[in-house]
Symmetry: C2
Subunit: 346 residues, 2 copies
């Protein structure tokens, strides 16, 4: 059964989610090439719906005969439903609780090979709408203090299936890194009465050297302290702390921006493995002041998406210290990505 | 020129160290198989000493004709010598300083293929003594606030050369993760007047289910909040905050423990890629109370080594939140490693 654990020498929670019957030798056999997977035996392809756990949500296909986007439970969920949190102390030092939460898969298209750069605006919008729909639903559950949306593209980025998909995990804790940035943004707001992220975005737009694109209501740039080559962030220009409150126009804008940005990466770097991660407000159902819950005012946080291409390997130095070495200055990465010619999103 | 950068939405420093003339397409060509490297053109092999930058230190070979361990500057250093720190604010939000520091390589043996599990006690001891010697020397420089010793074994763990080697990086900052654990240990000491790490070690020994080995003055176990399958820590049983103050007996004990532990991993998991990372006191030359420096009392910190096998891929979820999923419970990992039969260290 999945379990959440926290040690005594740092504040980091870890999910221990044993996969049934896995033995030491099984870890070595993980090197399946994703390209070996063909649509015939892909559980995410149209026609193979009976190979997946039962559907949680679908966005119908334009002709009404099938689906365009589909959400299913993860077959090997990192977190599950439990009747209670089961918080307790272990050995006097450690903290544990049940692995309470959910783990869902968003199948982005019925087509085995249509990754983000190949999508049209309409399909991009269906995916964005699906993300919002699922986040809204999960945030109705007050036990889920944080909902994480992310995508692993390519084996090097952690994907175990080639078929285009992203994942949503709801957790009973707000992860430490999210709490740190919430605290920093809150302190800034208290001092300035302005959103830290809005201020950074305006400074980046004024400077310009790290900007990749300012279009469709979103600004895409290579952050000053990028940990990875070609790391990017996408901020909505309109201040908003909550991804699920996007306007209709912004949803279209985000779809276009995701397609355009992944097109840039693909044109410049080929089929590069990458992760994208949404950062948004902790679940607003949680009441401010209630212990363990994090109040976000609508003013002092700003939702955004990080895109992390996996071109370098993270090594001992990084694991030991959280201190990263990036061989590609973000100014140079932005210049390369700005200058790439991409086709218009249809 | 390498540069240290810190953004505005977290406290993490990043080293931006451009490799000269590297273009986007160069990142894709990194997949050289380490096994293709043969001793003939290996710069770390005996006989090829002229292919490396000039030697910083050597431990002579037992017959006195050559070297047994050799320390050289890294050919592509992440950090360099500068006349000043060059700290400044950038765009009103960011912090930068020159990439001040050093980056050294410890060639662990003249033999291309003698990894840790294959070493005898004498060679293991020469390596441990070399580590201590270099750390002591680097800690004479008050600009180096932290010295990090680590090893990347195998391509998946970030190694770019097959020949057995480890690395030492001295930095002008104490990395955030180290500061966090220093703060936690300090708060514990203030409350209890006992070392947090000693207390955890004793509790682990009492419980026993996560212990791999209690021998030669060191305790090896799988931590309660292990992020990775078969992750291990090695603690000296005698309380000490500073790796460089090991007794003669402890140096032998550590050599034996490193050989025995890597033997266990290799016997159980094959030639598994792994990182090991030393955690020790920040540079004690730094005076307590001086801003930006971290005082460690001899009482409230405990040096230790973490071993992180690279069997799973870190994916979007982890990068986005610092929240890890571990499919192998540490209790089970410890049982497997405890039961492995290994040959005696000669």
């Amino acid at each position: 059964m999945p379990e959440l654990r926290r040690g005594a020498t740092n504040h980091r929670w870890v999910i221990v989610a044993p996969e049934r019957g896995r033995r030491p030798s099984d870890f070595e056999q993980r090197g399946t090439e994703l390209n070996d997977q063909v649509p015939d035996n892909c559980p995410f392809c149209a026609g193979n719906e009976d190979q997946t756990p039962s559907e949680l949500y679908r966005s119908p296909s334009p002709d009404g005969t099938g689906w365009a986007v589909r959400v299913i439970p993860n077959k090997f969920p990192a977190l599950q439903t439990y009747p209670d949190l089961g918080r307790e102390s272990v050995d006097g030092f450690y903290d544990r609780m049940h692995g309470v939460g959910t783990h869902e898969v968003v199948i982005e298209t019925p087509d085995h090979c249509s990754e983000f750069p190949a999508l049209d605006e309409a399909q991009g919008l269906r995916i964005v709408d699906t993300y919002i729909q699922r986040l809204k639903t999960l945030m109705e559950n007050p036990w889920f203090r944080y909902v994480l949306l992310f995508k692993n593209h390519g084996k090097e980025a952690g994907a175990s299936l080639l078929h285009p998909h992203s994942q949503i995990i709801a957790t009973p804790i707000v992860p430490q890194e999210v709490r740190d940035s919430l605290n920093i943004a809150k302190a800034y707001y208290e001092q300035k009465e302005r959103c830290l992220f809005c201020d950074i975005m305006l400074a980046e737009l004024r400077g310009g050297e790290r900007i990749v694109e300012d279009a469709n209501g979103f600004v895409t740039w290579a952050p000053y302290d990028a940990r990875f080559p070609f790391e990017l962030v996408i901020y909505p220009k309109r201040h908003s702390h909550d991804f699920t409150t996007m306007t209709a126009e912004e949803r279209v804008g985000l779809a276009r921006t995701l397609i355009r940005t992944t097109r840039r990466l693909k044109t410049l770097l080929g089929n590069v493995p990458y992760n994208f991660v949404l950062k948004t407000t902790p679940n607003p159902v949680a009441r401010p002041g209630k212990p363990g819950y994090w109040s976000t005012l609508p003013y002092d946080y700003h939702w955004r998406i990080a895109i992390l291409p996996r071109l370098t390997r993270v090594a001992g130095f990084e694991w030991g210290t959280g201190f990263y070495i990036n061989p590609m200055p973000p100014e140079q990465a932005a210049a390369y990505l700005r200058d790439v010619e991409i086709s218009e999103v249809s």
